[in-house]
C-alpha cells in the first residue's frame, strides 16, 4: 500500500495480547464492540479492562431505576444494564424477555462509536504480522491476523459461552463499520445467524495503518429466574474470573 514501508517481521509476546476488547457495549438488545488497532508496530499499549455486569437484580435498589418498563442497573465499574421488562414473560421458573446488557469502559458513552479516535492517539493495540491476535473478555473474543507482506487482515468475533447462553437465535449483525487512518471504509455485509456464529470479515490494511472498527448485534436475551427469589429477572457475568453457578443462572 502506498505510504507504508512494508518491512514485515513477525513479533511474538505483544504486551497487549491479554487485554480485553476495548469499549465493548451491549445495549438495548444489541451488542456493540469496537476497538482501536495499529498495524505492525513494535510495542503494545494495553487498554483498560472492560468488564461485564456481575450483579443480580433483586430489587429496585439494585435495579437503580425503572422507567417505561426499562430497568436500569448501574454496576461498580461504570457498567450499565438495561432490561425491558415489558416484553418479558415468566413461566415455570424461567423468565424470558427482550433484555439488554450494556457495557462500557471507563464510563464512556456509545457516542464513541460514531467516530474513530484520532490517529496516533494512545490506546491503539499493535498487530504484528503472522500473529493470530485474540482479544477476549466476558462478552466474547475478537481475533485478527495479517500474514506478513499481505494487505489483508481477516477478523472474527464470537460470543462468549456465557453470552451465547443467554442469547436467543437469531442474531442480526448490522455489518462492521471500519476506518483506516480515520478514513471510513464501506460497511461490511450484515448477517442473520445463530448466536454461536463466527462473525468474520476482512480488513484491507497495511503495515503502519491505524484501524478502528465497530459492529452491532441485535438479539433477544434469555433471562433466567432464581428459583428461591421472587424477582423475575436476573443477569450475570459468566467470565472465568467470576465465581460461577449463581443459582438459576444458565451461564
Amino acid at each position: 500500500m502506498d505510504g507504508f514501508a512494508l518491512s514485515d517481521h513477525a513479533h511474538a509476546g505483544d504486551a497487549a495480547a491479554a487485554t480485553a476488547i476495548d469499549r465493548v457495549v451491549i445495549n438495548s438488545h444489541t451488542a456493540t464492540f469496537g476497538s482501536k488497532l495499529k498495524i505492525g508496530l513494535a510495542s503494545g499499549v494495553p487498554l483498560s479492562q472492560a468488564r461485564t455486569i456481575v450483579r443480580h437484580i433483586t430489587d429496585s435498589t439494585d435495579a437503580g431505576s425503572v422507567n417505561n418498563g426499562v430497568l436500569t442497573v448501574r454496576a461498580h465499574d461504570s457498567v450499565v444494564s438495561t432490561i425491558s421488562q415489558g416484553a418479558g414473560r415468566a413461566h415455570q421458573g424461567a423468565a424470558e424477555g427482550r433484555g439488554s446488557l450494556t457495557k462500557m469502559a471507563g464510563g464512556a458513552t456509545p457516542a464513541i462509536f460514531d467516530t474513530p479516535p484520532p490517529v496516533g492517539s494512545t490506546g491503539y493495540h499493535n498487530i504484528h504480522c503472522d500473529v493470530d491476535k485474540l482479544f477476549s473478555d466476558s462478552d466474547g473474543s475478537f481475533g485478527v491476523q495479517r500474514k506478513c507482506g499481505s494487505g489483508k487482515a481477516p477478523w472474527r468475533y464470537t460470543f462468549s459461552p456465557g453470552l451465547a447462553s443467554i442469547c436467543r437465535d437469531p442474531v442480526t449483525e448490522r455489518g462492521l463499520d471500519w476506518w483506516v487512518n480515520a478514513h471510513r471504509k464501506p460497511r461490511q455485509a450484515p448477517h442473520i445467524v445463530p448466536c454461536v456464529y463466527v462473525f468474520h470479515g476482512t480488513f484491507t490494511v497495511g503495515k503502519g495503518d491505524y484501524l478502528w472498527y465497530t459492529d452491532r448485534y441485535l438479539f433477544q436475551v434469555q433471562l433466567t429466574r432464581r428459583p428461591e427469589m421472587p424477582s423475575s429477572i436476573y443477569t450475570g457475568d459468566c467470565a472465568s474470573s467470576v465465581p460461577q453457578a449463581e443459582p438459576g443462572l444458565r451461564c
Partner: protein
C-alpha cells in the same frame, strides 16, 4: 465523477456476477432487490436464493464508495457472495469466485 444508481449497478455489476457465481438453476430461483439504505445515497442489495438462503449487502455506500469503478464494486460484492455461498444451503462448502469476470470489468 463516476456515479451509480440502482439500475446501472444491477445491469453492470450484480447480474453479471450472479451469472457466473450461481448455477443456472440457482439463478432461476433467485430474487433480486435493490433498495435505498438508511444513509443518504446508499443502496442495499437483497438476494433470496431458493427457499431459505438470504443475502444482504450494502452495495453502494457514498461517500466511502464514491468514484468506485465497476471492478471495485464488483470485487466487494464477489467477496461477500463468496462467503455467502460457502455458508448457504445450496452451495455449502463450495468456493466460487468471479475473478475472471472481474478482470473484464472497467477498472
Amino acid at each position: 465523477m463516476l456515479t451509480w444508481d440502482a439500475t446501472s449497478l444491477r445491469v453492470r455489476v450484480v447480474e453479471p456476477i450472479l451469472a457466473v457465481m450461481l448455477t443456472p438453476e440457482e439463478a432461476r430461483s433467485t430474487r433480486v432487490e435493490i433498495r435505498p439504505g438508511d444513509e443518504e445515497g446508499w443502496l442495499i442489495l437483497r438476494l433470496t436464493v431458493g427457499p431459505a438462503d438470504e443475502f444482504v449487502s450494502y452495495l453502494y455506500q457514498p461517500p466511502s464508495m464514491t468514484g468506485w469503478s465497476q471492478r471495485e464494486i464488483g470485487q466487494k460484492l464477489a467477496d461477500e457472495l463468496h462467503d455467502f455461498i460457502a455458508e448457504s444451503a445450496f452451495g455449502w462448502g463450495q468456493t466460487r469466485d468471479a475473478d475472471e469476470l472481474l478482470q473484464s470489468f472497467e477498472a
